[in-house]
């Protein structure tokens, strides 16, 4: 048996390895990023996809091929992947498909704090929810079992504190009570099953009924499964709490002696188990972060529980806030200590870009990444930031409706990884429906997915493990889409040229892409190292490749 201090992300990666996951794929996003990085480091097969939708589709294919498959993303990534998710619920899977959604209550590094338990309900998928790293490890095996037993994708919901908090994980001792017992990974194979997997209406109608029948079975199983457990507390029965995820740990600490129904299967909810639990206590309170999902469901089912006051929908919970919830205290809270806000690194190549945008008082439709920090002082040079890739569409919308003099001030700013993620279709829209004043898209290409910790993407020409692969050319894509003016400039080294090009393109009623290219200062040394390794790799492979002799006919 090993005893290690692991983050929840690391524990999921270890569980994926120990449970025979054949493929892990996803898109980087705080707080989920470290799962696939760790899975790779441990020897698993892990890869970054261009975005979450593609990652999930690759995962669905692998699971159709009978493999155990892991797909990871942050909560907003599931919005991108929602289209295949909802229909994969109908098709089901042959192997196991576990989709990690890492929610960010309190928005430590996100644009919203949506509660993805709603997705499990909306798509009709089981959702497993651990509270700490040990549960992240153990519950992963349960998620794989559910997926294989009912041939259904399983959502695995983590939150920032579960992903990033470190706690002790015991693993590798199958004899320990409650320890997961790995089963051999299934052989991958393909069997035709057109009725299940081709979702034309004639097949989808019975598939929806099959899904609901599976869910009914899982709901019955939820009432007795060990993912949900009752802790009797001091036995007085005066107070009972129903809690999930990390909220359970805050609740247990805030109320020693209270009975607790700890919910580890977020969907389907064990309503009857909760009804029995609530009947045995004088007062029952639901302690959950985010939306009142459990409270609403239990109240709708006629289980008399207290929901938290509305103010606790916002932000993370902690021990102090749980105490306030139990005291029914809805008075204003002390604001958290405000330290120094983050800022662009002093040597960041984007300072000159934002300096220029501020100087000319442009209207900047922005996007998601480190460069979102351009919105903070001293620049405050970003006017919108909504979703990954949205800068281009939002900029075009502004251009379409503003008077010409205003429209000419609009630029879209997007990072390289974000561009590949979902900016390309925005560029297609730009070429297809050009505003009459034209438009200018600035791609900030620092050669890495900087915000989440310098991950690779298709534009870097390297895979997750930094090994070489086909490199996507941003300027090539822009030209192929039909953008007439594509310029590459190092705005850090040539700020005057950047300013000149930008003003010139703004004045022209034409479509333009300006690529401001310079490596992220934090990643530059590593990028040089990986580039060198890639060059050596290409030379070595070229030497090994058979030389093509021209044939007689060619001569």
């Amino acid at each position: 048996m090993t005893r290690q201090l692991l983050s929840g992300d690391e524990a999921v990666a270890l569980a994926a390895l120990d449970s025979g996951v054949a493929l892990g794929t996803g898109y980087p996003g705080t707080p989920s990023t470290e799962i696939l990085e760790t899975f790779d480091r441990l020897g698993g097969r892990a890869q970054w996809a261009p975005n979450e939708k593609v990652a999930l589709e690759v995962g669905i294919g692998a699971a159709f091929g009978n493999a155990r498959t892991l797909v990871t993303m942050k909560h907003v990534g599931l919005n991108v992947a929602a289209d295949p998710l909802f229909t994969a619920a109908y098709t089901g899977v042959s192997g196991a498909l576990i989709v990690v959604t890492a929610d960010d209550p309190g928005m430590s590094s996100s644009q919203n704090e949506q509660d993805n338990r709603r997705y499990a309900i909306a798509a009709g998928l089981p959702m497993v929810e651990p509270a700490d790293s040990q549960e992240a490890y153990d519950f992963f095996f349960s998620a794989a079992e559910i997926s294989e037993r009912w041939h259904i994708p399983v959502l695995f919901r983590m939150t920032t504190r579960v992903c990033h908090a470190k706690s002790i994980v015991l693993s590798g001792d199958e004899a320990a009570p409650g320890a997961p017992v790995p089963t051999p990974a299934p052989q991958t194979n393909f069997a035709h099953d057109i009725n299940s997997r081709v979702m034309i209406p004639a097949n989808a109608r019975p598939a929806h009924r099959r899904l609901r029948a599976k869910l009914a079975e899982i709901a019955a199983w939820a009432e007795t499964c060990n993912l949900n457990r009752v802790e009797p507390g001091d036995g007085s029965g005066s107070l009972g709490l129903i809690a999930n995820g990390v909220s359970y740990l805050h609740a247990a600490e805030a109320t020693p002696g209270a009975a607790i129904l700890k919910v580890g299967l977020a969907n389907p909810l064990c309503v009857e188990k909760a009804r029995t639990f609530v009947a045995g206590v004088k007062r029952a309170v639901v302690v959950e972060e985010g939306d009142p999902v459990m409270a609403d469901a239990l109240l709708a089912a006629g289980v008399p529980v207290e929901a938290k006051p509305e103010m606790y929908r916002f932000g993370e919970l902690d021990v102090a806030r749980v105490r306030r919830i139990l005291a029914g205290d809805a008075t204003p809270e002390q604001p958290p200590a405000r330290g120094k806000p983050p800022e662009l690194c002093p040597a960041c190549p984007y300072h000159t870009v934002y300096g220029t945008i501020k100087k000319h008082d442009l209207i900047a439709a922005g996007d998601i990444g480190c460069y979102s920090l351009g919105v903070l002082p001293p620049y405050q040079a970003m006017d919108t930031c909504v979703a990954m890739g949205a800068s281009i569409g939002v900029g075009l919308g502004l251009r379409h409706v503003l008077p010409d003099s205003e429209a000419r001030r609009v630029v879209s700013i997007i990072g390289d990884s974000t561009f590949v993620h979902s900016g390309i279709s925005g560029l297609v829209e730009m070429a297809y429906n050009p505003p009459k004043t034209g438009h200018v898209v600035i791609v900030l290409d620092n050669g890495t997915t900087a915000m989440t910790g310098q991950q690779e993407h298709p534009g870097t020409g390297r895979q997750l493990d930094h090994g070489p692969t086909t490199k996507l050319s941003i300027e090539g894509i822009a030209s192929a889409i039909g953008i007439p003016s594509v310029t590459v400039v190092d705005a850090h080294v040539e700020p005057e040229r950047f300013e000149q090009v930008l003003l010139e393109r703004l004045a022209a009623s034409e479509l333009s892409v300006i690529i401001a290219r310079r490596p992220c200062i934090l990643a530059a040394a590593d990028i040089r190292k990986w580039e060198q390794a890639a060059v050596e790799f290409r030379i070595a492979t070229a030497e090994q490749a058979p030389v093509c002799e021209p044939s007689v006919e060619d001569q």
Binding site: H164, K166, S167, E253, A337, G339, P342, E343, C345, L373
Partner: protein, 164 residues
């Protein structure tokens, strides 16, 4: 919950706050204690304020130190002292960078380890276990400098004579 020791480490991005909390948490693990550690990654890495919570003892539940319940506040940047002070409980110990004489610090980057040395005068984790965790977290070429920094932290506390 009195059996749990609550430590909050605070500073600015790039100062080694997370490294110090990793070392402390690893030392608690090595000492056979239950331990949890939590901080916010992401935006905070870009030079902003960083705090990291480490809790150890017989049985740790929540990974976060409740506000006003930190037994120890270990601060790496003077600018963060007032920001973090509300986290400390009444009678808790504040270890600020002023405690370490800058001129004696073998390397500015080892302030985090010097403050762990200072903390070692107060907590139940044995000094040799903490030092082993320091070494496990750093490449060998940095061991000597950091051991000196660690001892400097211990001497600084002893010189203050605040330990009863």
């Amino acid at each position: 919950m009195s059996a749990v020791t609550n430590v909050v480490l605070a500073g600015l991005g790039g100062q080694g706050v997370i490294k110090a909390s990793d070392i402390l948490a690893d030392a608690a693990l090595r000492a056979g204690l239950d331990v949890k550690k939590s901080e916010i990654h992401g935006m905070s890495q870009r030079g902003g304020s960083v705090t990291s919570d480490v809790r150890f003892g017989a049985d740790v539940l929540s990974p976060m130190v409740p506000r006003g319940e930190a037994d120890f506040l270990v601060i790496l940047a003077s600018s963060e002292v007032e920001v973090a002070r509300p986290l400390l409980r009444a009678g808790g110990v504040l270890l600020s960078p002023d405690l370490i004489p800058e001129a004696d610090l073998p390397n500015k980057r080892s302030l985090n380890v010097a403050l762990l040395g200072a903390l070692s005068c107060y907590i139940e984790i044995p000094v040799e276990v903490l030092l082993a965790a320091v070494k496990a977290a750093l490449p060998e070429r940095l061991h000597e400098v950091n051991e000196r920094a660690f001892q400097l932290g211990r001497q600084s506390v002893a010189a203050q004579g605040t330990i009863s």
